[in-house]
């Protein structure tokens, strides 16, 4: 435990702005992925990118404010992400079982 506290990484030389920029970039990248991909598996991956982007921001803010809350938030997000992924993959398997195309564009009988 002591070791972790005094770990030399993270001396605070990088300003928050950089982290936030990266976070935003990852988020938008994920968003683009959701918009252009049609395979549900890839969509789930893209969503993971978005959540990671958000996590980077959360942890960055936590650092900025010296508040544990952000990191807790990030951990919770990971759990949620895991849950979403599990359900998503379960759905993918169910769809596969029903011999349906693994393409969200094909799954569009509901419309109007």
């Amino acid at each position: 435990m002591e070791l972790a506290v005094t770990t030399p990484v993270g001396t605070g030389e990088i300003p928050l702005g950089f982290y936030l920029a990266l976070s935003g970039a990852l988020f938008l990248l994920g968003l683009v992925g959701v918009l252009i991909r049609r395979n549900p598996l890839l969509l789930l991956l893209a969503v993971e990118l978005m959540l990671n982007g958000a996590n980077v921001a959360l942890v960055g803010f936590a650092r900025y404010w010296n508040d544990t809350g952000g990191q807790i938030f990030a951990l919770i997000v990971m759990v949620v992400a895991a849950a979403e992924v599990v359900i998503g993959l379960g759905l993918v398997v169910a769809i596969f079982r029903q011999r349906l195309e693994l393409d969200v564009d094909e799954l569009s009988r509901l419309r109007g």
């Binding site: 968003l31 959701v34 918009l35 969509l43 969200v104 799954l107 569009s108 419309r111 109007g112």
Partner: protein, 637 residues
């Protein structure tokens, strides 16, 4: 009994008769109908005589009796009672209405005996008499208007008595609609009075009118009242319904469209003389319109072939005299002419009715001729009637007509012009009346002769005889330079305006008397020359002046003009509204809006294409819009 109570009884009796007859569960025996129909009239006449007697026994200045049954309405600052007003003028009218009315009822008992709807006829006739009495007895403008409209309704019903005849139905409708136009005029006059004087009671209106009515208002009221009068009394240009009204049974024509209702306009002007005294221009308009009507109708009457139409046009023309007189403020003379006209015109109609009855409904002069041989008594009575209307000295028409014309002669330049018109029309009157007389009673029998002449019984003959006597002598109540019972009687209710009737000089009376006698004689002679002396003459002259005569026969085509300028266009507008505007205009707005919504709905539905990526894109778009709002709009504030 006081005059007021008598007045109410007179008013109530015909109403009672009408109600009993109409509510009788089924068609009552004809005797019952006769007893109720005529009995109520006779009683009313007797009571009217009693009223008259009561009034005669009173001081001339105190002969006005106003009596109200109940507070009819109290609205805003206005109070209106269900009130009657018995005075010299209304009693005069009541006498004619109930008297002549009773005679005509009596006549009808026989005339209508073969018609279905015997009970209906008498019920409606009684109803008419009630309405007419209400009109003349009304104590305020509201009930005047009500009576005014109800006589119109009665007239409508009786014109359309033969309700399976489309022509009768159309004539009834026309009469009614034109009367409604008159009602509107009257109603608006009442509005102005109400706005200016704040009351509709005759006494109060007339008392305050000189103070409250300024020049324009008075002129407007007078003109609007005249619109009503013109519609009811068939003055140009609202006269076209009266000839058509001859579709009704002949007794109806005699009672409503000759003796009483059509003269209501005259009554109205006389009743409202105070207002006309305040409106010189309107009075002139009245006189001029009366003169125009007088002349036009007289010319038209010269060529009509239907015996009743000749009489109808003659009625229009004679009312023109009265209106002209009223416009010249010669109220007593107008009423005098009304009185004499009631007698001789009722006589003429009833006489014509006997002829028609005898010929089983034939009305065309072309299908008559030589009837004098068969219907001698009738011919005699009709001759007196024709002479009376033509103005043969000594008979009633001569005195009353000359009274009006003498006033005209005395009334300045305008009056002189009107006098000339009156004299010309008098000549025409003599001509067309004797044309009618000669073509009906003189000459050879019509082709084919008469097989089953239907001889009149006593019920038809006696009223005509009584009217004949009246037509002969009733003019003697006022003989220029000898006595003036009529003027004296009416003086308290018609005198006292700032304008007043022109002073009539003796010279005017002489000039008028001589002139009218000459022209009457001239007219009779011309008629004799053409129609009486040699029946073939008429056929020889048939080709003369075809064009003008056809114009005259069509009554100057007033009907066509109305049809073309008012009725058809509005009918078209109505059609356009119904077929074009209704489905498209108002409805179209709704339809347009709903189809717009439907289009938007379609767009939204197409966006909702089932593609998840599209949904995500929409979310991103939403964020963009909200973000832009947040940055741009909020920043701007």
């Amino acid at each position: 009994m006081t005059a007021s109570v008598l007045g109410w009884l007179v008013l109530g009796l015909p109403l009672l008769g009408a109600l009993v007859l109409s509510l009788w569960p089924s068609e009552p025996p004809q005797t019952v109908t006769r007893v109720i129909g005529c009995g109520s009239m006779l009683l009313a006449f007797i009571l009217t005589l009693a009223t008259w007697g009561t009034l005669l026994g009173e001081n001339p200045e105190e002969r006005t009796h106003v009596s109200s049954l109940w507070r009819w309405i109290e609205i805003g600052d206005l109070r209106v009672d269900l009130a009657i007003r018995i005075d010299q003028l209304s009693v005069l009218m009541m006498l004619v209405i109930t008297g002549v009315g009773f005679l005509i009822h009596l006549y009808s008992t026989e005339y209508m005996a073969h018609d279905v709807g015997y009970r209906r006829f008498f019920a409606q006739m009684n109803f008419f008499v009630f309405s007419m009495l209400l009109l003349v007895e009304a104590g305020n403008f509201v009930f005047l208007i009500i009576g005014w409209a109800l006589v119109g309704l009665a007239s409508y019903l009786l014109i359309g008595f033969y309700d399976d005849r489309p022509s009768a139905v159309a004539a009834a409708r026309k009469a009614f609609v034109i009367n409604v136009i008159g009602d509107v005029g009257l109603v608006f006059a009442a509005f102005i009075l109400l706005a200016k004087t704040g009351t509709l009671d005759f006494d109060q209106v007339f008392a305050s009118a000189p103070k409250t009515l300024d020049g324009y208002a008075a002129e407007a009221v007078a003109l609007l009242l005249f619109v009503g009068a013109a519609a009811k009394s068939a003055q140009v240009p609202l006269h076209t319904w009266l000839p058509d009204a001859m579709e009704g049974p002949t007794p109806v024509s005699a009672l409503i469209h000759a003796a009483t209702m059509v003269t209501a306009g005259v009554y109205l002007i006389v009743r409202c003389n105070v207002l006309y005294e305040l409106a010189p221009s309107a009075s002139n308009v009245v006189a001029i319109v009366g003169a125009i009507t007088l002349l036009l109708a007289a010319t038209i009457a010269t060529v009509q072939v239907d015996i009743k139409r000749v009489l109808a046009w003659s009625t229009v023309s004679q009312i023109g005299y009265m209106i002209m007189g009223a416009g010249l403020h010669a109220y007593s003379s107008s009423m005098f002419h009304f009185l004499t006209h009631a007698f001789f015109k009722a006589l003429l109609f009833l006489g014509a009715g006997i002829v028609i009855h005898a010929l089983l409904g034939e009305q065309s002069l072309d299908r008559m001729g030589g009837l004098g041989k068969h219907l001698r008594g009738v011919m005699l009575m009709m001759a007196i009637g024709c002479m009376a209307i033509a103005g043969v000295p000594g008979l009633s028409g001569f005195f009353s007509k000359d009274a009006i014309l003498a006033h005209a002669w005395s009334a300045g330049a305008l009056g002189k012009c009107l006098w000339v018109v009156g004299i010309v029309a008098a000549a025409l009157t003599a001509f067309y009346m004797f044309r009618l007389f000669f073509r009906t009673f003189m000459g050879p029998d019509r082709e084919g002769g008469y097989e089953h002449l239907h001889m009149p019984g006593w019920a038809m003959t006696v009223p005509v005889a009584i009217l004949t006597v009246g037509a002969a002598i009733v003019g003697w109540i006022e003989i220029p330079g000898v006595w003036d019972a009529m003027t004296t009687w009416l003086d308290p209710v018609v005198a006292g305006g700032p304008l007043g009737p022109a002073e009539v000089t003796h010279s005017a009376e002489w000039i008028t008397g001589i002139a009218s006698t000459l022209v009457a004689a001239g007219g009779i002679v011309v008629a004799w020359q053409i129609f009486g002396r040699d029946p073939k003459r008429r056929l020889e002259l048939a080709g003369v002046a075809r064009g003008p005569r056809s114009v005259l026969r069509d009554a100057y085509r007033f009907d066509d003009i109305f049809e073309g300028t008012v009725i058809e266009p509005t009918k078209q507008i109505g059609e356009v509204f119904l077929t074009k505007v209704e489905p498209r205009g108002a409805q179209g707005l709704v339809d347009g809006a709903s189809s717009l919504v439907r289009v938007i709905s379609g767009v939204i539905s197409r966006l909702e294409g089932g593609l998840v990526r599209g949904y995500t894109a929409a979310m991103v778009g939403g964020v963009v819009v909200l973000g832009l709002i947040a940055t741009v709009l909020l920043r701007a504030n």
